[in-house]
């Protein structure tokens, strides 16, 4: 007797190198879960499908592999939508498998039916609705290929229950049929030559590196190129870790909450070399004031990104690792003393700063202390808002895949589940979550998953009792009218919540308690630890470029 759909699916996943899937069962996937019960795959039971999606995402970001999640039909599938959109905006490879009602019921408003392929079309790189078991093996192979190549992204496979139970007549055929899918890997040699010439000729170049450098595995090539030609390097939020932030050439992050010296350097440069970055509005601020003196080299694997926001003087379509490798051979060694001295001066005059003398617990201090107790391989996963920005500014990332954050969509609730996914991907690494009290509550149910799987994740909760980033805007631009941003009087006792889930909870209300709490957390190896840091409630993220302003006109702490 031949194999049925469920068995073919599991075989196909194993053939793709999948070891772990994040899942929640339901009616239409019961036959599939029956096959999963004793198969070699590790099935991690979550508490909300959005959690499963973010876990697959964190797993993918930490490991570079494709993350996999599995849900039932209807609400199970729709619950994935935010997680898919999160992955889509940040180009993260995920394969999401959703159950679907029987093929003959599709379109009839059946129980737990949702047109998930319709709903997720704009937030997936591609999706499939399977109608015949003979297409299953091929579809899985295609899905993994599409998810992980070119500009990666989430791919959804909608699997009706009768397809999982039907038995395949004949041989399994998984030959891919993708006539419309082409990836350009090698950059055009003529364009690369022009780019190298431009670099050699420039007096004040800046290398602007984004998430694409990490996806491509191009950190080594980037570092060699930057050091050979003395190119100062600034990274986007998504690019943090692609160039060591303790290198003198590092300008750290640019953009809305980037450093003064990064934003000044970009505004004054005569050549901007963009690699694996897409000129997002958080980076550019007022477009016609962005890099106004510069010619622009734009290296990207996605032709659609080039010329979308900014006209590229020298576009190069190709894989970052390949193109940077080629460029490295063609660029000349140059000292650029004058430019580097100007940048060093800006760094001296305008460092990132906060009130280090304050008696209260400052969030920036907490982030610095997290760095002190970690090693170079520690993975920091952030939630969204002020906590995210402080984590981006004050930690200092040196390796790729050590900073995981929802950049494009900015999804609150990303932190805890993504950290769980990252811990599964890297069981020997320390994983820290830097969260806010608003964000943590959005997927707090995943504490169950973390505790149940004995994951020693450390959660540094930057607890200010507000939806901090919104409160900051309300303070600066809306006369402190804190409309719907105050949480403190309704927040639970987070320590008790952690303990109720079986995790360890600690509270820190004084500055001298920060380091001991973190060190105690580092000693725990078999369950999550939550540290509720009561931080200064009205601390703001600076520098800040107001929306629509040029990036060199930032507000700083003195304002």
């Amino acid at each position: 007797m031949g194999k049925n759909g469920a068995e073919i699916l599991i075989d196909a996943l194993i053939a793709e190198g999948v070891e772990t899937i994040f899942a929640l069962p339901g009616g239409v996937v019961i036959p599939l879960f029956d096959r999963l019960y004793d198969c070699p795959l590790k099935v991690v039971l979550v508490r909300h499908e959005q959690g499963a999606g973010h876990m697959a995402d964190g797993y993918a970001r930490a490991s570079g592999k494709v993350g996999v999640c599995l849900t039932t039909s209807g609400p199970g599938a729709t619950n994935l939508t935010t997680a898919l959109a999160t992955a889509y905006m940040d180009s993260i490879p995920i394969v999401a498998i959703t159950g679907q009602v029987r093929t003959n019921l599709i379109g009839n408003d059946a129980f737990q039916e949702a047109d998930i392929t319709g709903i997720t079309r704009p937030v997936t790189k591609h999706n499939y609705l399977l109608r015949d078991v003979k297409d299953l093996a091929r579809t899985v192979k295609e899905a993994f290929h599409i998810a992980s190549t070119g500009c990666p992204g989430p791919v959804l496979i909608d699997l009706p229950v009768d397809v999982t139970t039907s038995v395949l007549d004949g041989e399994v055929n998984n030959e891919m049929q993708l006539p419309g899918y082409r990836i350009i890997v090698k950059g055009h040699p003529g364009q690369i030559k022009k780019a190298a010439q431009a670099i050699n000729d420039s007096e004040r170049p800046v290398l602007y590196a984004g998430g694409g450098v990490i996806i491509s595995g191009a950190a080594e090539e980037l570092a060699k190129l930057a050091r050979k030609a003395n190119l100062p390097v600034t990274t986007t939020l998504m690019g943090l870790g692609c160039f060591p932030e303790d290198d003198p050439l590092s300008l750290h992050m640019l953009g809305m909450h980037g450093t003064v010296y990064a934003n000044y350097a970009v505004t004054q440069c005569d050549l901007l070399i963009a690699v694996g970055a897409r000129f997002d509005d958080r980076v550019t601020g007022k477009l016609d004031a962005f890099a106004p003196k510069a010619r622009i080299v734009h290296i990207d694997v996605s032709p659609a990104s080039i010329g979308k926001i900014v006209t590229a003087d020298i576009p190069v379509v190709g894989d970052a690792k390949q193109v940077l490798g080629q460029l490295l051979k063609l660029v000349e060694q140059r000292e650029r003393k004058g430019w580097l001295e100007q940048i060093a001066q800006w760094k001296r005059e305008f460092p990132l700063s906060y009130d280090r003398q304050a008696k209260t617990v400052k969030p920036q201090f907490v982030v610095e202390q997290v760095r002190e107790v970690s090693d170079g391989d520690t993975i920091v996963v952030t939630d969204v808002g002020q906590c995210q920005m402080w984590a981006a500014q004050y930690y200092g990332y040196s390796k790729p895949r050590t900073f995981l954050s929802s950049g494009g969509l900015g999804t609150m609730g990303y932190g805890l589940p993504a950290a769980i996914g990252a811990q599964f991907a890297c069981p020997d690494k320390t994983v820290f979550v830097i969260a806010g009290d608003g964000s943590l509550q959005m997927n707090i149910q995943e504490f169950s998953t973390a505790v149940g799987n004995k994951l020693p994740i450390k959660i540094a909760l930057l607890d200010n009792g507000y939806l901090g980033m919104v409160r900051q805007w309300q303070e600066l631009f809306f006369n402190r009218r804190y409309s719907s941003t105050y949480l403190a009087d309704q927040n639970p006792d987070f320590v008790k919540v952690a303990e109720a889930y079986g995790a360890i909870g600690m509270r820190v209300e004084a500055k001298d308690g920060v380091r001991p709490a973190l060190e105690a957390a580092m000693q725990v190896s078999d369950k999550p630890v939550l540290i509720d840091f009561r931080i200064d409630p009205e601390e703001n993220v600076f520098p800040m470029v107001p929306a629509g302003e040029a990036i060199d006109r930032m507000l700083s702490r003195m304002a």
Binding site: G118, I146, P179, G180, A304
Partner: protein
């Protein structure tokens, strides 16, 4: 605002039309017309899309379309040497006194009368957008009851040497 014509070869599967239309709407591109039909290869359909916008906008549209996995090839026909046709079916008021004039107009455009009623006729005309529009403008004074238009389809001319 210029009109731009794109011809896209796409996989002949359900959902592809929705995906292309969704792409346009999500990015705020304005579609004037979209015609799709089968090709010589049953695996593929051809979509002819007429959009309104400047060249930079069109370039983005073309690249975004190309990015879709189900889209095999996209050609910008706006400046290419091409043959294009639009087909119109229109029901026009044509009471006994006016009928011959309406039919004469149709004949001038080499259009056909494909249906006759007590006080109406239905006219079918095929041609470039200009020709179809010209006939429509001339028929309008008689009173247009209802019409359906395919939108433009186009193919590049074969090379001659």
């Amino acid at each position: 605002m210029e009109k731009q014509i794109l011809s896209a070869l796409v996989e002949n599967k359900s959902g592809v039309l929705a995906h292309v239309a969704g792409l346009f709407s999500a990015r705020g591109f304005n579609i004037d017309s979209l015609a799709v039909g089968e090709t010589e290869d049953p695996r593929f359909s051809r979509m002819t899309i007429v959009a309104c916008g400047d060249e930079a906008v069109l370039e983005q549209v073309r690249k975004q379309l190309d990015k879709l996995v189900s889209v095999v090839k996209v050609q910008d026909l706006s400046r290419a040497s091409r043959v294009e046709r639009d087909l119109l079916l229109v029901r026009v008021n044509a009471p006994p006194g006016k009928r011959s004039q309406v039919i004469e107009l149709a004949n001038t455009f080499r259009a056909k009368v494909v249906d006759v009623g007590l006080s109406e006729v239905m006219i079918e005309v095929v041609g470039t957008e200009d020709k179809v529009q010209a006939l429509l403008d001339l028929l309008r004074p008689y009173g247009i009851v209802e019409m359906a238009r395919t939108g433009r389809i186009a193919l590049m001319r074969s090379s001659r040497g």
